[in-house]
């Protein structure tokens, strides 16, 4: 089954809203009406999220019940850190950037700035 990050987000939203252990049946029932998803799909998505370390799980009768490892805000903070780390630190000022240039590049930059 191809990964659908939007379905994963929708499932996580349901779990965060509920703030309690939910089985796949519970999650399926609470997904927004416009998202009609098969029970087995929900089960697969929950298992995938558990393998990714985003959910805890415990036995609930014949099924598993799931609970997010982090709160929504903790997850947002972690994701923000991940995004900024991946996208790079962009707070380098022009002066610092200019210091990294060779002499010819600096001359070229000076000419460009003078033409502005």
């Amino acid at each position: 089954m191809p990964k659908d990050p939007f379905l994963e987000n929708a499932v996580m939203d349901v779990l965060w809203e509920a703030d309690e252990w939910l089985t796949p049946r519970d999650v399926q029932a609470q997904l927004p009406a416009e998202r009609t998803v098969e029970y087995t799909t929900v089960m697969t998505v929950l298992a995938r999220l558990w393998k990714k370390g985003r959910l805890n799980r415990e036995r609930s009768g014949r099924a598993y019940a799931y609970l997010p490892v982090r709160t929504r805000s903790e997850h947002a903070a972690m994701r923000m850190e991940e995004i900024l780390e991946t996208a790079g630190n962009r707070s380098i000022a022009l002066a610092q950037f200019a210091e990294q240039l060779s002499a010819s590049e600096r001359r070229k930059l000076k000419r460009i700035l003078e033409e502005q």
């Binding site: 990050p5 939007f6 987000n9 996580m12 939203d13 965060w16 929504r72 997850h75 947002a76 994701r79 923000m80 991940e82 995004i83 900024l84 991946t86 996208a87 790079g88 630190n89 962009r90 707070s91 380098i92 022009l94 610092q96 950037f97 990294q100 240039l101 590049e105 070229k108 930059l109 460009i112 700035l113 033409e115 502005q116």
Partner: protein
């Protein structure tokens, strides 16, 4: 002689973006990206075929077969096994690169629970609340242009509009495919300097094309200066991916018409190199 000609021609094709960068004013910005993509990808494919053809005799000899021998380049075992090793390394590098690109893309795609999302016609504009000035685009079916409140603080409205226009251009020009191609060869850049130069030339062309699609060039220049110096991110189109000086230079000299003679020479060179590669392969196969 034929095998040497084939290798030289295919490597020459792969390296055409390096030459194209030096004569970039011969091309229109978007045309340059397409030229690079076609020459490099066809060069890589032909190079791989050439390596397989050189490696085949040695590998077939392992199994004791000789039926297909006449269709492949003659060569001793050293050439054969070297070609096999190079082909295997090429494949492994490209698979590693491809998976890294997809991983980075997944990490940088912003889920709906984070930031503010504004649905526009071709993409979602996502604003993240953080002091660091960041701007990048993620292509694909659910395209996103991501900026931060730190960027909003640092730039004027016109500069910000330029940044968003630049990122949106990466999406409308389908640069995701080009970035995937770059990402697939990028792992080799860490141990092979010419590949690093090739990647830089390719990235410059993409950023230059996106710059050319902004409506206010001087605002684009100012924005580029304001947030310059950031490293490139594998597989993602980001506003400040290297090549800052060349991009500034290109924005200043934007109005010059492409040089027809140089352009014709570049296309002719690519066709000759491609033709030599194909002709050599076909000649030996027959």
């Amino acid at each position: 002689m034929f095998s040497e000609a084939l290798i030289v021609a295919t490597v020459g094709l792969v390296a055409m973006p390096l030459v194209a960068r030096r004569v970039r004013t011969a091309f229109r910005p978007v045309e340059l990206t397409r030229y690079n993509a076609v020459t490099m990808s066809s060069g890589v494919v032909l190079l791989f075929v050439a390596l397989v053809v050189c490696a085949a005799p040695a590998i077939i000899a392992l199994g004791g077969g000789s039926v297909l021998d006449r269709h492949f380049f003659p060569g001793d075992a050293v050439v054969g096994w070297l070609s096999a090793a190079t082909a295997a390394t090429l494949i492994a590098t490209m698979v590693i690169g491809y998976r890294r690109v997809r991983r980075v893309e997944a990490r940088l795609r912003i889920e709906s629970s984070i930031g503010d999302h504004f649905k526009l016609s071709r993409y979602d504009l996502v604003v993240l609340s953080t002091r660091q000035p960041v701007a990048y685009a993620i292509g694909g079916r659910h395209a996103q242009v991501v900026i931060t409140s730190g960027l909003l603080d640092q730039l004027s409205v016109r500069e910000l509009v330029s940044v968003v226009e630049h990122e949106a251009a990466h999406i409308s020009l389908h640069h995701r495919l080009h970035l995937t191609l770059i990402g697939m060869i990028e792992p080799a850049a860490s141990w092979f300097l010419p590949v690093r130069r090739l990647v830089e030339a390719f990235r410059f062309a993409l950023e230059h094309a996106a710059d050319s699609r902004t409506s206010d060039r001087s605002a684009t220049r100012r924005a580029l200066l304001a947030v310059s110096g950031a490293p490139a991110v594998a597989g993602v189109a980001a506003f400040t991916a290297g090549n800052v000086i060349d991009r500034l230079d290109a924005l200043v000299g934007e109005n010059a018409p492409p040089r027809a003679t140089t352009r014709a020479l570049m296309y002719a060179s690519a066709m000759i190199l491609g033709g030599i590669s194909l002709a050599t392969l076909i000649h030996f196969w027959l």
